[in-house]
């Protein structure tokens, strides 16, 4: 069993003024695939390095399988890791690099050979087994790092942006490949990325990080559908969630956006006469060239055909939002179109704290 319990982990690098991880607590169930997602510099690598034992926290604790490992040296933790910088040994052939962990554990030669062949096959490294890392491309080197990590029978698999250096197509292929591999391995996995589509597609659970803290932890679809705050909504999704300044009417029954009145969901009953932020995803806004009931007029600013859809930048009551229209929709900049917000997909945020509003 390798469930991970991280509690109140604080780390400040020597000489730094800000905390790299700020009181992070996280529970990971055995066999789960958890993705740490966040912008550059938010402390993802730091958290991963503390899990691996390469960095010691200032306070807090880490337990794996019920055993406290906070101060255990890295080689006693039975973890394996893909480094952000790959750290593929430059003086050794690919074959040796992949089998490194196994030969350190003095595994029999046939077993090493078998597993190296298996991993090389999975990651399409077969032709390069007898090359030195210097003779590989960056993406190939990164795959060597992944192969080296998956051949280990580790309790925990840590991966720091393992697909960052692959081209778009290869990344898409390896993403699903990796999902399958990890599922078969049944190893508890912590995966770091700043690519939100990768996070959503891979994770059993996604932890969105911001400035050393976990802003939201949850199922990928929940995180996408109901962001806990404005930051998460803005970080996840492409285009990011739209945030529209609005106010709740005095009786709590209507949402006022500029001169327009929309029907307010019951959640807003208790927020009468307050300013709120309306959060809505681009694909949850219906567009029409004709007016129908409950519609809001908007002026098209930019039309961007994306192939499977058309992305419109629309000005509504002085605010700019992104709207996703079906590919058959025809309009041009300057035209007036009518938008319908579906009540179920509207999310509301406090206009000051930017936190999601809850019924009260």
């Amino acid at each position: 069993m390798a469930d991970i319990t991280i509690s109140h982990l604080v780390k400040t690098y020597p000489g730094a003024t800000e905390r790299a991880t700020d009181d992070v607590s996280l529970d990971i169930t055995d066999g789960d695939f958890t993705v740490l997602l966040g912008p550059s510099g938010c402390g993802k690598t730091t958290l991963l390095r503390m899990l691996a034992g390469l960095e010691l926290p200032d306070s807090g604790s880490i337990a794996v399988g019920g055993k406290d490992v906070t101060y255990l040296p890295p080689n006693k933790r039975n973890m394996s890791m893909v480094f952000q910088s790959y750290a593929v040994f430059p003086h050794r052939k690919v074959r040796y690099n992949i089998g490194f962990g196994l030969s350190m554990a003095k595994k029999p030669k046939e077993e090493i050979d078998r597993k190296v062949a298996w991993a090389a096959d999975l990651l399409q490294l077969g032709p390069y087994l007898d090359r030195l890392p210097a003779q590989l491309s960056g993406g190939q080197r990164q795959r060597v790092a992944v192969a080296r990590a998956i051949v280990m029978d580790a309790d925990v698999l840590l991966m720091d942006e393992p697909l960052s250096n692959l081209d778009a197509l290869l990344r898409l292929n390896f993403r699903s490949e990796l999902k399958k591999i990890v599922k078969d391995l049944k190893t508890t996995t912590v995966y770091v990325t700043h690519d939100q589509s990768e996070a959503l597609s891979l994770g059993d659970r996604v932890a969105v990080m911001r400035k050393g803290q976990i802003a939201q932890l949850g199922d990928p679809l929940d995180v996408y559908d109901a962001p806990a705050d404005r930051f998460v909504g803005g970080f996840i999704g492409s285009p990011p969630m739209n945030f529209i300044k609005a106010a709740v009417s005095g009786d709590g029954g209507a949402l006022i956006v500029g001169d327009q009145r929309l029907r307010a969901p019951s959640l807003l009953q208790s927020y009468s006469s307050t300013d709120v932020l309306l959060g809505v995803r681009a694909e949850n806004v219906a567009v029409d060239t004709q007016r129908s009931s409950g519609d809001v007029p908007g002026t098209v600013l930019v039309v961007e055909p994306m192939g499977s859809s058309i992305l419109l930048t629309v000005e509504v009551e002085g605010q700019t939002i992104k709207v996703q229209a079906p590919p058959t929709f025809r309009t041009s900049p300057g035209a007036t179109i009518w938008l319908t917000f579906s009540p179920n997909s509207m999310r509301f945020y406090d206009s000051e704290t930017a936190m999601a509003l809850v019924a009260r």
Partner: protein
């Protein structure tokens, strides 16, 4: 990451340009002339001197050198010293460099202190150790104050302690050179490799053997060549401590030149050192060549 990537070839010359001396040659020309005058010429002179008698080519000086009763002991002592000292120095230097890398408190100070012998002249170092090892030196004072018998460390009939004294003094004096080279080599190795090895379960010794030492090989090679060549030239420390009692090849060169006033035999001895140094360098370069990396060079 890109330690081994060869530099991009710079193609300055276009076919249309008239041929002329490449700027690189012009730039290194002064130092080539300088080296030729100050090093090449004396070397040729020295070699000639070892073989040129009154009537042309002669092997007399070589014969005289080899038949001298001090010659073979000097060769033996020099080789013995090298064989014992070099491994010791590398063990010390690598240990010290690894200690420094683990970032102890005051690590800059430690490094500075350990590098001090580098700044000391070898004769001065010899004299310092003489004051320690001589019959009434510091070491014997300590022994007597502890109620032990004092030991004639530098007595001529005690070759074992003579060797020990020269060894200790030389190790103290010249290990810092290896240390400086190894430390700078270690600093050039990204920490990731060691960290990766740790995560994949390697123990300290496994990391040293499979990761650190192989990556340190270029530095070790430089240090090994330098130290071995310099060890052939060990002289002042032994001279100060033992005089004639522990002859070394360079000490013999000096004796033939000054005491015996025979520059020709001295030149023959110098030639022995030159040849030995060259052979040893070639040997190291071949022995330590990385077979795996040949393709990328």
């Amino acid at each position: 990451m890109t330690v081994d990537s060869p530099p991009a070839p710079v193609q300055l010359d276009t076919p249309a340009r008239p041929r002329r001396i490449p700027p690189a040659v012009l730039l290194i020309a002064p130092s080539i002339v300088f080296m030729a005058l100050l090093l090449g010429w004396p070397v040729i002179q020295g070699v000639l001197q070892a073989f040129r008698g009154d009537e042309g080519f002669t092997l007399d000086y070589i014969t005289r050198m080899v038949e001298d009763p001090y010659f073979w002991p000097a060769v033996r002592n020099t080789l013995l010293l090298i064989a014992v000292m070099i491994p010791l120095q590398f063990v010390f230097a690598i240990t010290m460099a690894l200690l420094l890398r683990s970032n102890p408190r005051l690590n800059k100070v430690h490094f500075f202190v350990w590098a001090i012998p580098l700044a000391l002249s070898d004769l001065a170092a010899g004299l310092v150790w003489l004051s320690i090892f001589n019959d009434r030196g510091y070491l014997n004072s300590v022994l007597t104050s502890l109620g032990l018998d004092s030991i004639p460390w530098l007595a001529y009939d005690n070759p074992a302690t003579l060797f020990l004294c020269v060894l200790v003094a030389e190790v103290w004096r010249s290990t810092s050179l290896v240390l400086v080279i190894v430390v700078s080599g270690l600093q050039g190795i990204p920490k990731d490799y060691d960290e990766a090895a740790q995560v994949f379960g390697a123990t300290f010794w496994q990391r040293l053997r499979h990761v650190t030492l192989p990556l340190l090989k270029p530095s070790l090679q430089v240090a090994l060549i330098l130290r071995t060549i310099l060890a052939f030239q060990t002289f002042a420390v032994a001279q100060a401590l033992t005089g004639q009692n522990f002859p070394l090849v360079v000490g013999e060169t000096y004796r033939w030149y000054t005491a015996l006033q025979n520059p020709n035999v001295a030149a023959a001895l110098a030639l022995v050192i030159l040849v030995a140094s060259m052979l040893i360098s070639v040997f190291y370069l071949r022995a330590l060549r990385d077979k795996g990396q040949e393709g990328t060079r």
